[in-house]
C-alpha cells in the first residue's frame, strides 16, 4: 500500500502542495491503588502500583489540494506494575506473591486512515477511524462499535475501528454510511484478521485450546450503518440505522437497531442533548440464577455446591442469554450542560438501560462475584476460565473503566478552568440510582507552560445507602432501596468495585 501511495504522490505533479502536521506528547502516569477490604471480588491481580509511559503522535498529511488526507494517530505504551494483596475474611490484607509481570510494551493505532474527496460533497474514508454520532458526554448508549471510554474524562479516548465511511456533507445536512469489518485477530495492535477468519487458528488457541477454544467459523463478521444528520431550528439531529452481523461479542445475524441523537442550546448557556438506541434483544452478560440461588457456602470439600455443580456439568454460570429475545430494549440518555461566564461547566445526565439488571438479576451477579471471589482467594479456581465469554478489544489503557450494569444512572460533572489562569478543576460523580452507590472522581490540572501539563486525579467509590446503613447496624438496611443481598449483606452496584481508592499523577509534555 505505501509504495503505491508514494507513486500516487509522484504522479500528482510538482504543483501539488503537501501540508504535513505532526502533533504529539510524551506522558508518564504513576498510579496508586488501595484495594478494597469489602469488595466481593478478589484483588490478587490488581496492582497497587502502576507506571504507564506513553509516547503519542498524530500525523496529518494533506495532499492533492486537500483531496487526499492521510491521518495516523498512534501511541506506544510501556506499563510496569507490581505489589499485590488480597483481603482475608474482609478484615486485613495478605500480600500476594510477586506476579512477575514483565513490562508490557504495546503499540496502539487509535486511528489510521486515508480520506479522499473526489467531489466537493463526497468524502470516502478507509481505515481505522473513530466515529461517534451520539451527543452524550459521560456515556454514548448508541455507540456499539468503539471501545468504551472513561466517563470521568470526557476528553480521553480516541480509538476507532476499521471501516469504510462514505459521507455526503451539504449545507445544513449530511448523509453518511459505513461498513465496518470486525477485527477477529490482532497482533501488536495491528489487525491480523478482518471480516473473516484466516486459515490458521489464533495463537492462544494453539497454546491452550481448553481455555481458548478455536473461535473460527466460515462466516463474515461486520457492522454497517446509514445516517442522516441535519441542523433544523438550531438543533443538531442525527438519525441512523445500524446493522450488526456477528460483530464483536454480539453474535446476532443481520440485527438492526435504530438510533437518534439531538442537541440544542437554550437561553444561550444551557445545552440539552438526548441519545436513544432501540434494539431487539440484549448482549449483556447475565448470571444463571440456578447456579447461585440459595447456594450454601460449605466449609466441606465442595464449597458452593450449586456453582461447582454448574462448572462440573460444563455449564457457564454467566452468558449472553438474551441475544435472540424478541423484546425491544431501549437505551436512553438525556442530559444538560450549562456553560457559565467564568468558564464553569456543569453537566447532568441520566442514563436508562432497559436491559440493565433488575434487582433479582443484580442479586445473581453480586452472588456470583462473591462466590468466585471466595474461590479465587482460596486458590480453587482461575476466574478467567469460568468467566471467559470472548476476546477483549486491545486498546488504549483507560484511567477508569466503568460499564453501567443496572437500569438507572445519574452522572453529575463540574469543570472550572482558568483558576489562577492555569489551573482546571474537574469533578464527576457516577451514581447508580437503585442503590445510590457510586464513584466520585476529582482532578486538578496545571498547565505549567504551553507545552507542559501536570494532572492529579483521585477516584473514590462511595457506598450504597443500604450498605452504609448496614455498617451502622441499622435494622432493615437490606430492605432500603433495591440492593443485592449476599449472605445478609447489602451490595450496591459500585460496592463491588475492587478498590477503596485510587490516585494518579500524570505529567504530559506536548510537541
Amino acid at each position: 500500500m505505501l509504495p503505491s501511495l508514494l507513486l500516487l504522490l509522484a504522479a500528482s505533479g510538482a504543483d501539488s502542495d503537501v501540508d504535513v502536521t505532526v502533533t504529539g506528547f510524551l506522558s508518564e502516569r504513576a498510579q496508586l491503588t488501595v484495594p478494597s477490604l469489602s469488595s466481593p471480588l478478589s484483588t490478587r491481580d490488581l496492582p497497587q502500583l502502576q507506571s504507564l509511559t506513553e509516547a503519542s503522535a498524530l500525523l496529518k498529511m494533506r495532499l492533492l489540494e486537500d483531496r487526499l488526507t492521510v491521518v495516523v494517530d498512534g501511541s506506544a505504551f510501556v506499563t510496569v506494575q507490581g505489589l499485590y494483596a488480597d483481603a482475608v475474611d474482609g478484615e486485613h490484607f495478605e500480600v500476594v506473591a510477586d506476579h512477575d509481570v514483565p513490562a508490557d510494551p504495546r503499540v496502539v493505532f487509535a486511528e489510521a486512515y486515508l480520506r479522499l474527496q473526489p467531489f466537493e460533497h463526497l468524502d470516502v474514508t478507509v481505515g481505522k477511524r473513530r466515529v461517534v454520532w451520539g451527543t452524550g458526554m459521560a456515556f454514548n448508549p448508541t455507540d456499539l462499535l468503539n471501545p468504551p471510554r472513561d466517563p470521568t474524562d470526557q476528553a480521553l479516548q480516541r480509538t476507532g475501528v476499521p471501516m469504510v465511511l462514505v459521507e455526503a456533507p451539504f449545507e445544513g445536512f449530511a448523509l453518511s454510511t459505513f461498513f465496518a469489518p470486525a477485527v477477529l485477530e490482532e497482533k501488536a495492535g495491528i489487525p491480523a484478521a478482518l471480516l473473516v477468519w484466516p486459515d490458521v487458528p489464533p495463537r492462544e488457541s494453539v497454546q491452550d485450546e481448553a481455555t481458548f477454544p478455536d473461535p473460527r467459523d466460515d462466516r463474515a463478521h461486520w457492522a454497517g450503518a446509514v445516517r442522516a444528520s441535519a441542523l433544523v431550528l438550531d438543533t443538531d439531529i442525527n438519525l441512523w440505522a445500524l446493522v450488526v452481523n456477528e460483530y464483536g461479542v454480539d453474535t446476532r445475524e443481520n440485527d438492526p437497531r435504530l438510533a437518534l441523537s439531538l442537541s440544542r442550546l437554550f437561553f444561550d448557556i444551557h445545552e440539552a442533548h438526548l441519545e436513544l438506541l432501540v434494539q431487539r434483544g440484549s448482549d449483556r452478560l447475565r448470571v444463571d440464577g440456578d447456579c447461585v440461588d440459595d447456594d450454601i457456602v460449605d466449609e466441606g470439600p465442595i464449597p458452593t455446591p450449586r456453582l461447582m455443580g454448574c462448572v462440573i456439568a460444563g455449564e457457564k454460570p454467566i452468558s449472553r442469554d438474551r441475544l435472540d429475545d424478541d423484546v425491544l430494549y431501549p437505551r436512553l440518555l438525556v442530559g444538560t450542560r450549562s456553560m457559565f461566564g467564568d468558564g464553569t461547566t456543569v453537566t447532568l445526565e441520566y442514563l436508562y438501560q432497559a436491559d440493565g439488571f433488575t434487582q433479582a438479576e443484580w442479586d445473581h451477579m453480586a452472588t456470583l462475584q462473591t462466590r468466585i471471589g471466595g474461590l479465587t482467594r482460596d486458590g480453587l479456581i482461575d476466574p478467567t476460565a469460568l468467566l471467559s465469554t470472548g476476546t477483549d478489544a486491545a486498546g488504549q489503557p483507560a484511567r477508569l473503566a466503568v460499564a453501567p450494569q443496572r437500569q438507572h444512572h445519574l452522572v453529575v460533572g463540574y469543570s472550572r478552568p482558568q483558576i489562577f489562569d492555569d489551573f482546571t478543576v474537574n469533578a464527576t460523580g457516577i451514581i447508580a440510582l437503585e442503590d445510590l452507590s457510586g464513584i466520585l472522581t476529582g482532578s486538578v490540572q496545571w498547565q505549567a507552560t504551553d507545552w507542559l501539563q501536570l494532572s492529579l486525579w483521585g477516584f473514590v467509590p462511595t457506598p450504597s445507602l443500604p450498605r452504609a446503613l448496614h455498617a451502622l447496624d441499622v435494622e432493615g438496611a437490606a430492605d432500603v432501596l433495591w440492593p443485592a443481598v449476599v449472605d445478609g449483606v447489602p451490595l450496591g452496584e459500585y460496592d463491588a468495585v475492587p478498590f477503596a481508592g485510587r490516585g494518579m499523577l500524570e505529567v504530559r509534555a506536548w510537541f
Binding site: 479522499l116 473526489p118 467531489f119 468524502d123 451539504f170 489562569d421 507545552w451 510537541f511
Partner: protein
C-alpha cells in the same frame, strides 16, 4: 473450511480511479478588496467596519496573546475562514497542546471540536475564548451588520465618527458597542468599547498597525482588547495573513467536516 479474504490491491485501484475523477472546487482564490463604503449614516459605520474587519469571504492567520496580571502571557495561533454573514471556522495551529482544536459558527450555533474526543460539542457565544479577554463571539461572530442595530454616538472626538451598536438578539457577544472610525476617506476602525446590558463597561479595544495585506486589502493588523473588570489583563490579536477570497466551499462549514 472455505474462506474468502478481501483484496487490498483492489481497494487501491478504487482510490486511483477516484482520483482520476473531476476535481472538487479549487481552493479559494484571492479577490481584490471592493471600493470603500462611504460613511454617511450610522449603518454605514457598521457596514464599513464589516467591510474592513469581516469581508464576505476570507482566510486569515492570527495570533492571540493573553497577558495576565503577573505579566505572563499565553499565545495561540489560529487560522480562520469565513463565508457569508454567519459562517466562520477557526482552526488552532499553535501551541502543540491546542493543535487540532477547532471552532465553528453557523448562524446562532457554535461548536468546539476536541481532538481527544473526536467530536464537536456545542459552546456558548459569551464563553471566554481560550481563557483570554476575547470571547467566542469576538472570534466567531465578526459581522456586526447582522447582529447589531446602529445609531450615531454623540460627543465623539474630532477626527472620529462613532456609532452606538445595540444587539439584535441575546446570542451575540455584547449587548452594546461604541465603535469609532477615522473621519476620512479610509474610515479605519480606531477604537471600540463593549458593554453589558446594564451599561457596565466590560472591554475596550484599540485598533492599530494598519497595513496592506495585498489586493488593496488595507486594514488594522492588531487589536488590543483591554479587560475593564480585571484591569491588569489584556489580550492582543495580531494578523500575519489576511486574504480576501472569492468564496469557500460550503462543505467546510458543516460540523461533520471538523477535525479534517
Amino acid at each position: 473450511m472455505s474462506l474468502v479474504r478481501p483484496k487490498l490491491p483492489g481497494l487501491l485501484a478504487l482510490f486511483i480511479a477516484a482520483l482520476a475523477m473531476p476535481a472538487p472546487a479549487a481552493p479559494p482564490k484571492k479577490a481584490s478588496a471592493p471600493a470603500p463604503v462611504v460613511v454617511a449614516t450610522a449603518a454605514d459605520v457598521v457596514a464599513r467596519y464589516d467591510q474592513i474587519m469581516s469581508p464576505p469571504a476570507f482566510v486569515a492567520v492570527m495570533e492571540m496573546t493573553a497577558t495576565r496580571e503577573d505579566g505572563s502571557t499565553r499565545s495561540y495561533v489560529l487560522k480562520t475562514q469565513k463565508v457569508g454573514a454567519d459562517k466562520l471556522r477557526a482552526t488552532f495551529q499553535e501551541p502543540a497542546s491546542a493543535r487540532g482544536q477547532e471552532m465553528l459558527r453557523v448562524g446562532d450555533n457554535m461548536w468546539s471540536y476536541v481532538p481527544n474526543l473526536k467530536r464537536a460539542v456545542r459552546v456558548a457565544s459569551r464563553d471566554s475564548f481560550m481563557g483570554g479577554d476575547f470571547n467566542n463571539g469576538d472570534v466567531l461572530r465578526v459581522n456586526y451588520t447582522a447582529d447589531y442595530d446602529a445609531t450615531f454616538l454623540e460627543g465623539a472626538d474630532a477626527g472620529l465618527v462613532c456609532a452606538k451598536l445595540t444587539a439584535k438578539s441575546p446570542g451575540v457577544a455584547y449587548d452594546m458597542i461604541h465603535l469609532c472610525l477615522t473621519k476620512d476617506a479610509a474610515a479605519m476602525p480606531v477604537s471600540a468599547k463593549y458593554f453589558a446590558q446594564s451599561g457596565k463597561l466590560l472591554r475596550s479595544a484599540v485598533f492599530s498597525d494598519v497595513k496592506d495585506f495585498g489586493g488593496g486589502n488595507v486594514r488594522p493588523a492588531k487589536i488590543v482588547m483591554k479587560n475593564e473588570i480585571q484591569t491588569a489583563r489584556q489580550s492582543t490579536m495580531t494578523w500575519s495573513a489576511f486574504d480576501v477570497v472569492d468564496g469557500i466551499p460550503a462543505s467546510r462549514f458543516v460540523v461533520e467536516d471538523l477535525g479534517r
